[in-house]
Structures are given as structure tokens and as C-alpha cells.
């Protein structure tokens, strides 16, 4: 976290910002992708983001419901992503104090562990349930998602920063 961003006091987050970010992430996931394995899962990225930033507001329950929606919308085994997202939310909340001490790329290194772990849980569940292993490229998606962490952070903090910067200018 650079000095310019750490010193700036953010506005309290609004619920509709959080909701809108989740809806947009779900939309991105429902886009018709040609190869599904290398597409980053933005829902998990946004979930980690809000669990780290607002652990009081977004947590296990949100992750679980999002996971269920994801499972039902995609027709996969019900509960697969609900479990993965619950674990993801838990560990993101546990690490939230630690993660925020690092620079954006340092945070991304933490996030990559979380996302790959969540994907591994989902894969493990499916393989245990009898599906075939879809190949190692399934872990490319989480890597790309983690690389998107710095731009996603800047983007998602814009709604909280706008008025502060307006005051500074004024």
C-alpha cells in the first residue's frame, strides 16, 4: 500500500457498491467463454476483495450464497462452489489485517494462494464425486484473477474515494 493511498481516509462503503460489484462479476462469469478453464473467476476475486476490506459486511454467508448461485446458474454440482467460496471468505477474513499491510503486488501474492486453494477445493470435490480431472490449465484462471488484483483494487475503491478527492480540490 503506497503512502498516497494509505493516508487517504476512505468514505464508508455503500451497500449498493458491493452489490453492484458482485452482480457485474457474476455477469462476467456468465459470459459465453470459449475455453472456460483459463477464464479468471471474478466472483472469487471480488469476494476476497470485500472480505479483506469489509469483513464485517461481507463474509461467509455472502460467499456461500454467491457460490450457490454460481453452481445453480452453471448447472454444476450444487454446493461445490458454495463450499469453496465459504472457505475462501473465511481465509480472506482471517488474513485481512495482514494482507492490507502489503503493497498491491504483495497483496496479490497472498490472493493467489487463496484463489488457487479455493479452485483446488472445487476440483477436489468434483473428482471425489466422480468427474474426470480437467487438466492443469484449470489453475490458470486463478493465476490470471490474482494478477487482476491491483487493477481491481483501484477500480473498486473509486466509489469510496470520489468525494474525498473532490474536497481536496475544492
Amino acid at each position: 500500500m503506497g503512502p498516497d493511498s494509505s493516508q487517504r481516509i476512505l468514505m464508508p462503503v455503500r451497500l449498493r457498491t458491493v452489490a453492484a460489484s458482485f452482480v457485474i462479476a457474476l455477469l462476467f462469469n456468465f459470459l459465453p467463454w470459449p475455453d472456460l478453464r483459463v477464464v479468471p473467476d471474478l466472483v472469487s476475486l471480488v469476494l476476497v476483495f470485500w472480505c479483506v476490506r469489509q469483513p464485517r459486511m461481507v463474509g461467509l454467508g455472502t460467499g456461500w450464497v454467491l457460490g450457490l448461485l454460481y453452481d445453480a446458474g452453471n448447472g454444476v454440482l450444487l454446493g461445490q462452489h458454495a463450499l469453496a467460496y465459504s472457505l475462501l471468505a473465511f481465509f480472506a477474513m482471517t488474513l485481512s489485517r495482514r494482507i492490507l499491510w502489503f503493497s498491491l503486488w504483495g497483496q496479490a501474492l497472498h490472493v493467489v494462494l487463496l484463489l488457487v486453494g479455493a479452485q483446488a477445493v472445487a476440483v477436489l470435490v468434483r473428482v471425489v464425486a466422480g468427474a474426470e480431472f480437467p487438466g492443469w490449465s484449470i489453475f490458470v484462471g486463478p493465476l490470471i484473477a490474482a494478477a487482476l488484483w491491483p487493477p481491481a483494487t483501484l477500480l473498486l475503491l473509486i466509489p469510496q474515494q470520489r468525494r474525498v478527492s473532490a474536497e481536496e480540490v475544492g
Binding site: 461467509l60 457460490g67 445453480a72 446458474g73 448447472g75 454446493g79 472457505l87 464425486a129 474426470e132
Partner: protein
Amino acid sequence: MEHIPPPFFKRGPAPLVRLAFFASLSLALLVIDARFRYAEALRSALALIAYPLQVVAIAPVLLGERVADYFSTQAALVEDNERLRERLLAASRDAQRFEATSAEAARLRKIIGAAERLTGRAIPAEVVYANRDPFTHKVIIDKGLQHGIDPGSPVIDETGVVGQVTRAHPLVSEVTLVTDKDHAIPVQVVRNGLRAIAFGAGASGTLELRYMAANAEIENGDQLVTSGIDGTYPPGLPVASVTRVERDSTHAFARIVGQPAAGVQRGRYVLVVSHEAKLPPGPSAVQPGKERRADKPRRARLREADGPR
């Protein structure tokens, strides 16, 4: 003075407890969904919530296609027209041949007293959405229970069998493709009538004929069609062509791999053939000329085909 934490420190149950709660809830759901079929109502409700998002997500792609269509050049249109006319000619020739053949077949079947085969209602549908689940080979189509889709109905396209409806939601349905690992379909070799079962081979996008004896009479290039003995798929639909046969004397079974005939991975428009029409007809249906159900277009067509003779 009592030390009670002020209300803004209250956080509900400890995170670990919450994790245990949600994780066990997920595991219970997983087991219920994988082993039993009790979670279908919940899944339908959730799928209905997710449906608008799916429609919005697919909209820009459809819009882009429409815009591209609009700006397609005249030369492309002329060329397209030419090709389509050729195909129409070929198709109408085939259709005439089909009329004659089906009339002849109907006559023969009457002679041997076999039940007339019924082809049912066909509902056209569009693939809105390839499944985002990389573990399975399924697609979502834009017709559901409200349009009369039944779970179990076979799905075909213009070249062959695509798969089978495995889940019907109110507005969309899920189609398991023939290449899915858990999908099996009874087939027949066109050349010699040999029956077999084709299983999906999963990620490779091919089909596999299992449990065929090492000396089974099957060759590269053999056409496989549905045999219809399962009562689900109507007989005679192209399924695959054999691309590889490996006979190993150390194994009891030959390894036979086929390429699906339909555009399983790329087609956008499919036909859902109604399920009930393909149930084997009861004994009363065997008697020729007896009208059992008025809503069978096939009967009318068969009679028409019989008429001119």
C-alpha cells in the same frame, strides 16, 4: 461496574463456528445433489434467479452477431444464397427419396406387423450458453418446462444426435452432450446392423464403444446410428463415425473410438425431440388404421405418403 462489550463489538458467532456451519451445509448439499435427487427444486429456484444475468451476459454477443450480419457484404450474401440453393436442391432430392423410402418401409412394416415408429413434436431451441463447468460436457438451451421440454428428451441438430436433456428448469434446460463422460447411447453399425453402446470419452470430444469383442466386425469409417432399443432416442439418427479401431490380443475388448456426427461443440441451433412420442406404442397401436392419438403429425404424414399409391 459490569464489563459488557458495547454493541458495536458484537460480531455474532465466531468465524470458525460460522465456517463449520456453512461448510457442513455445503457438504450436505453436495451429498444430497450427487447421490439423491432431492435438491432439484432448490436448484430450479436458484437457476431462475441466475437466468436474467445469463440473458444479459449473452445479449452483447447476440447483438454483435446481429450487427455483423447487418454489415455483411452483398457478395457474401450472393455467395451464401448460391450455396444455400445448392444445399436446398440436394436436400429436396434427399427428401423425395426419403418420402419414397419411408412409404416403402411403412408398407414393409405393416406386412411384418411391426409397430409403426412415431417421431414426435420437435421444439427448436438455441444454445445460449456453454456450461462453465469444465468437468462436464453440457450446454444450456433457451427452452424450458414452460415451452414443454421434458427431462430425458433427446436433442439433435441437422447432422445428428447432440445429446439429451438432463435437467429442465422453467425457462432454460441443461443438455448433456454425447461426449460427456457419464453419457451412454445405444447405437448400431449401419453397414451390418451390429449393436453397441457408445460412451462419451470426456475431454477429447469423442465417443468410445466399450465392451466390444476384439474380433467385432467394425472398421474405420463405419457410420453409427441410434438403434432405438432404449426407447429414448428414435432409431436411425446418425451418432458418430468410427475413426480408430485398436485390437489388442491381450485385452478381451477392442478399443473403438468415434467422432460425433453432430456439431456437438459448435452448433448453436438444436431440435429437442419430444420424449413421450418415442415410447414403444401399446398393442393397440399395432393395428393399422386405428387412430390412437390425434396429435401425432407423423401418422398424418405416413398416411399421406401411403395415399398416392
